[in-house]
């Protein structure tokens, strides 16, 4: 039965609360590594029983290749950080363009944003891989564009579009009273934007921006499809070098899943925490 006191606010329908990951009270602690290792150990004895005397156990194989896979994963993280940086910079500009006073700038920015938002990430990746030249010449200096750099640029395109939307959404969510108050204090539009609106928007933009980063990190594996040597490509190579043993498939793929989970889940929890802290009482 309802034991809560009534609020004085009269919602006809409550606003939807942000998605909570909070019901799952799972904090990643150091000791959590042990059940994982235990599982891999169990799996290895199972694998060991299956394999012939000459083959090494699943667990041993995994441990042997772990340093290489971890290096590959770090490369994924590098790509994600670079793509996020470039994408955020360009995307923020685009977002500001969407709220520009000039109708042409607004329409152009809107179109570019929608165009890259509607496109699948993999298609944009292909787009960048195939259509960017293998080297660019700037001021007489030839800069080679290796595959991974092209992939980074390709991934920064959807980031740009989503950041643009995040910025626009955050600015729109501020009550118009803020703009009116600034106007009555004789602030110019630029001053209003940079001194009043954007500082308040940063808080609102942080949770969706971090969520975007998490999605981007997970999207870096797409680079394996276009031939960039990151953790997924390396896993494939390792598996084939081990003779394509089917009992290795699940453990190795699980390990990759675990790497991403270990990186992205804390980000997700932190995002939920930020959302709660920055919850705007409107």
């Amino acid at each position: 039965m309802n034991n809560r006191p009534y609020k004085t606010d009269m919602p006809v329908l409550l606003t939807v609360k942000p998605m909570s990951g909070d019901k799952f009270n799972f904090k990643l602690k150091l000791w959590h590594v042990f059940p994982v290792l235990l599982f891999v150990l169990f799996y290895s004895t199972f694998g060991f029983a299956d394999a012939g005397p000459a083959k090494s156990s699943v667990f041993e194989t995994l441990v042997r290749w772990m340093p290489l896979l971890l290096k590959g994963f770090l490369f994924n993280l590098l790509i994600s950080v670079l793509a996020m940086g470039v994408g955020t910079a360009v995307g923020a500009t685009l977002g500001l363009g969407q709220i520009s006073q000039s109708a042409w700038v607004r329409k152009f920015a809107w179109f570019v944003t929608q165009f890259f938002r509607n496109s699948p990430w993999l298609v944009l990746l292909f787009f960048a891989m195939f259509l960017l030249p293998f080297e660019v010449e700037i001021v007489g200096v030839k800069i080679p564009l290796p595959d991974w750099l092209k992939a980074t640029i390709g991934l920064s395109l959807p980031v740009m579009a989503n950041v643009s939307e995040i910025v626009r959404g955050a600015v729109k969510s501020l009550p118009s009273g803020q703009w009116e108050a600034a106007e009555s204090l004789a602030y110019t539009r630029t001053q209003t934007l940079w001194l009043i609106i954007l500082p308040q928007c940063v808080k609102r933009m942080l949770p969706p921006w971090m969520n975007l980063y998490s999605i981007l990190t997970m999207a870096t594996v797409l680079a394996s499809i276009v031939g960039v040597s990151e953790v997924m490509t390396l896993t494939g190579q390792v598996l084939s070098s081990e003779g394509g043993r089917p009992e290795l498939l699940a453990p190795f793929y699980s390990f990759v899943l675990l790497l991403f989970f270990a990186y992205c889940y804390p980000i997700a929890r932190f995002t939920v925490h930020l959302e709660k802290r920055f919850a705007v009482i409107s």
Partner: protein
């Protein structure tokens, strides 16, 4: 259980209720005869809302008994459906169903719960909407109505079930002052037609004029009660006098 008009319609005897460790009602007793209008007043947290919510079994009680037309409410085998056909309730937050129009809100319960056919339910609903003076607003959605209008639709919705007693839980507390009057007038009409009403309210002028009996609760007990004249002009207890001096 046989019940006749000479016995109280609602009989609350020594009711205790706690939310976990917090005791909210500490032995409350009161009787309501058929056709009476009872007002329960008191400071926030005194347990008034909790009390009337116990009458229609929205809250359970730990100790004591509540008899509605002779039927014990504090009974694990209680047929809640039957109880709620007899006891209607209007809430502070109106709680209309936002995805249905005003007339659909009023028609829904008779159709679904009383299994009436649509034509009968609609005819009754139209009459009730007219009665609460909202003719013309039948097809408006709650979001398009003002607070006072929504509250009157809520009253019509309870009336559609043809209850014997209606509970009003601070129904005007959330309304703008201008709209409070129209809701109180509607309740007054009901009272004059002989409907048994139990109101939790802050509207002292209304209580003075319409109530047959007033109960003052503070911290889970009934401190004082009496007919409006005696109560307002000749309060005995210190706490009552303090409360009245703050309110009036």
């Amino acid at each position: 259980m046989t019940w006749d008009k000479t016995q109280p319609m609602v009989s609350i005897k020594n009711v205790h209720k706690a939310f976990g460790d917090l005791k909210v009602l500490k032995g409350v007793s009161l009787d309501v005869m058929k056709g009476q209008v009872i007002c329960i007043i008191g400071p926030s947290g005194s347990g008034k809302s909790t009390l009337i919510r116990c009458v229609n079994a929205l809250n359970d009680i730990q100790e004591g008994s509540i008899l509605v037309e002779g039927q014990e409410v504090n009974d694990p085998n209680l047929d809640k459906l039957e109880l709620r056909k007899k006891v209607g309730m209007v809430f502070q937050q109106y709680n209309l169903f936002p995805h249905k129009t005003a007339i659909e809100n009023v028609m829904m319960a008779p159709i679904r719960v009383l299994k009436q056919d649509k034509a009968t339910a609609e005819a009754t609903a139209r009459k009730l909407i007219k009665k609460v003076r909202l003719e013309g607003k039948e097809n408006a959605y709650p979001g398009e109505l003002s607070g006072g209008q929504q509250q009157r639709v809520a009253i019509a919705r309870s009336l559609a079930m043809n209850p014997d007693v209606i509970l009003f839980d601070e129904v005007t507390a959330a309304l703008d002052p201008e709209t409070v009057g129209e809701v109180l007038r509607t309740i007054q009409d009901l009272a004059e037609e002989g409907m048994t009403c139990i109101l939790v309210t802050h509207e002292m002028a209304f209580a003075r004029e319409v109530a047959d009996h007033i109960y003052f609760t503070d911290r889970g007990v009934i401190v004082e009660h009496g007919a409006p004249d005696t109560f307002f002009n000749n309060a005995q207890d210190e706490r009552t006098k303090l409360f009245l001096s703050q309110i009036l």
